[in-house]
Symmetry: C2
Subunit: 320 residues, 2 copies
C-alpha cells in the first residue's frame, strides 16, 4: 500500500506521520525540533523513527513521497527563506528538499507550515466547504496559510502569508525579524511569555502572576486560571485577543475570507481567546464585513492538519 | 461591429468609453460624478453622452454589454457595498446593475473600480506578464485591485482589496468609514489636502504653503514646487510616500506581489512619491522580500485602465 510521509516542523516540536491517500494517519510521532542544533541531528532522529514506524506496520510500506511543512518553507524553491525567526541559524536559507533526499531519495515537497495546515483543513478539516479562508497556526510564532478561491496563496516568490509579521504596534515589542510590533510578538507562545512578563511588572503583588514561570508559560495553566475566574488570566486573554482581532481585521480588509481557522499552541484556549478576538475584529472591520467572518478551531484531530496537508501536496503532485 | 461600454466611476470624475474586443477605445468622455446628487442625475447625463458618441461613430454600433468599475462595487452582488466613503448617500447599498438596466437592457457587470483597473493593466498595461500584483488607484480615496496567480481576488463576499482601509496610524486621522488612521486618509487627494493643512499649521510663515488652497490641492502644482526645490513640497511627498510604503509593506507581507502599479490622481507625481514609498516599503519588509517588489506607474494611456478593465469583464463573461 502507498503512503506518504508528512512532516510538520515547528519551532519547538516536530510531528510526522505515515498517511494514506484518504487522509488516514497510520502511524505518527512527535519529537523535539531542537532547532539550534545542526539540521541533520533532527533528521537522523526523525528518519530512524520513521524506519521503526514502517517496520511496525503490517502492510508492506511503499513511500510515494515526503511532504514537509516548516516555518519559512518556500514552496517554489524548496528552501527555507532567509532569517527564519523561529528556527536556529542552521536552518537559514537551507536547501531542505536536497537535504531530505540524502535520507530518502523520493519526491520531496516543501511548504510553509501554515500552508500545509491550510491544505489539511481544506481536505479533511474545518474548511471542507470553504473556498476563501486563512489558517492561523499559533505555536512558538504565528504563521498563516491563506486560501483564495480554493488555492493556496503563495505570492510571486512563494513567501506570501506572513501574517505574523504585519505590524500591529508601532514601536512595539522587538521581533527577531528586525521589525517592531509584529503580530506574533503578541499572539503566540513567545507573545504569551512577554505579556505575562509585562503583567508581572504591572502587578508585582499578584500571587497568580508571581507563581507563573518567566518562560514557556503553560497555556493549560492559563486556561485553568481563566476558568476559575482569575482576573489577571482573563485580562491577559482579553489583551492578546484584542490584538489578534486587530490583526485579523487588517488581513480581512485585504482578503475578505469567510473564516479564520486556528490551529496549535494557544489556540487550545478556544473561546477564552477567540471571543475577545472576534469582538475586536468586528470593531475594526469595515461595516460591510462586520459579523460576516467566523473564527473557528481546527477541524482535524490532535494537531494532524500539518502532516495531512503536507502529504496532500504529495498526492496532488506525484503520480503513481 | 461589437463594442462594450466601460464606465469608471470615481469620487470626482466618471470616465466612460466604447471599447472593442482588442482594447481599442473608439470614443470616450469624462464628466463630473457629483455623487451627492441622485444617481439617476449622473446616469441621465452619461447615457445621453453615450448616445451622442454612438451616433458619431461610422460603424453601426452594437453594444455587447456594460462593464462598470465603481468604489465599493461588489462583483458578486452587482451592488454598492454599504457606506461607501467616497460616494454620496444615494449610492449606499444601491442595486447598480438593475439601475443601469433601466437605461439599457444589456448584460451589466459591476466591480470595484480598482479591480477594473487591475484587469485593464493585466490585459493591456503594466501587468501584461505579471501574475501576482496589486493595482492602487489614487483618486479621491485609495482603492486596490489585487491579482493572485492571474485572477482578481474577490474574497468570499466580493469585498476584498480594501487596502485604503488598513490602519496605518493608530488614533490617526478620522476616516468616513468609521475607523481612524486608514491608509487613504494619508495617500489620496483628500489625504494630500489634510497633509497640507497640517503642514500649514506647523509652518505658519511658509509662503509656499500659505498660497496653497485649503481644499483640492492641485497635484500638478505640488509637482512643480517639488521640481523647483521647494523644501515643504519635498517634505510633503516624503511624508506621504513614507506612509504609503508602510501600507505597501503590510500588504506585501500578506500577499507577496511582484509589483504594485499606481493609477490616477496623485500617482502622476511619479518618482516624487514612489521613490520615498519604495524606500519605506523596503525598510518595512521581511528580509526575504526586500528589494524584490517593484513599484510602477500604470501602463495604460491617459487613465484608460478602468474602462478597459470594465469592458474586459464583458468580453470574458458574455458570449456573442
Amino acid at each position: 500500500m502507498d503512503y506518504a510521509l508528512g512532516i510538520d516542523i515547528g519551532g519547538t516540536n516536530t510531528v510526522f506521520g505515515l498517511v494514506d491517500r484518504n487522509g488516514n494517519v497510520l502511524a505518527k510521532k512527535s519529537i523535539f525540533t531542537m532547532s539550534q542544533n545542526p539540521v541533520q541531528e533532527l533528521l537522523d532522529r526523525l528518519f530512524f523513527d520513521v524506519s521503526v514506524l514502517e517496520s511496525e506496520l503490517n502492510d508492506e510500506v511503499k513511500l510515494a513521497g515526503i511532504g514537509i511543512g516548516v516555518p519559512n518553507g518556500n514552496y517554489h524553491t524548496g528552501m527555507i527563506n532567509p532569517n527564519p525567526p523561529n528556527l536556529g541559524t542552521y536552518w537559514d536559507s537551507l536547501d531542505l528538499v536536497n537535504t531530505i533526499k540524502d535520507y530518502r531519495d523520493l519526491p520531496v515537497i516543501v511548504t510553509n507550515d501554515a500552508n500545509a495546515a491550510a491544505i489539511g483543513e481544506m481536505y479533511f478539516g474545518a474548511a471542507k466547504r470553504i473556498r476563501d479562508f486563512v489558517v492561523i497556526t499559533l505555536g512558538t510564532g504565528l504563521g498563516s496559510g491563506i486560501v483564495v478561491n480554493g488555492n493556496v496563496l503563495y505570492g510571486h516568490d512563494g513567501s506570501a502569508g506572513e501574517l505574523g509579521h504585519i505590524v500591529i504596534e508601532k514601536n512595539g515589542r522587538m521581533c527577531k525579524c528586525g521589525k517592531s510590533g509584529c503580530l506574533e510578538m503578541y499572539v503566540s507562545s513567545k507573545g504569551l511569555d512577554l505579556t505575562v512578563k509585562e503583567f508581572k511588572a504591572r502587578y508585582p503583588d499578584d500571587t497568580f502572576l508571581y507563581n507563573l514561570p518567566d518562560k514557556k508559560v503553560d497555556g493549560k495553566e492559563m486556561d485553568d486560571a481563566f476558568d476559575r475566574g482569575e482576573e489577571r488570566a482573563r485580562e491577559i486573554y482579553n489583551y492578546i485577543g484584542g490584538i489578534l482581532g486587530i490583526g485579523l481585521a487588517q488581513a480581512a480588509t485585504i482578503l475578505s475570507p469567510e473564516a479564520f481557522i486556528f490551529y496549535g499552541g494557544i489556540s487550545n484556549a478556544g473561546d477564552r481567546l477567540l471571543k475577545p478576538a472576534l469582538a475586536s475584529m468586528n470593531e475594526n472591520l469595515l461595516s460591510q464585513q462586520k459579523g460576516k467572518i467566523t473564527l473557528k478551531l481546527s477541524g482535524v484531530p490532535d494537531g494532524e492538519a500539518g502532516i495531512l496537508g503536507a502529504t496532500s501536496l504529495i498526492w496532488d503532485n506525484v503520480r503513481d
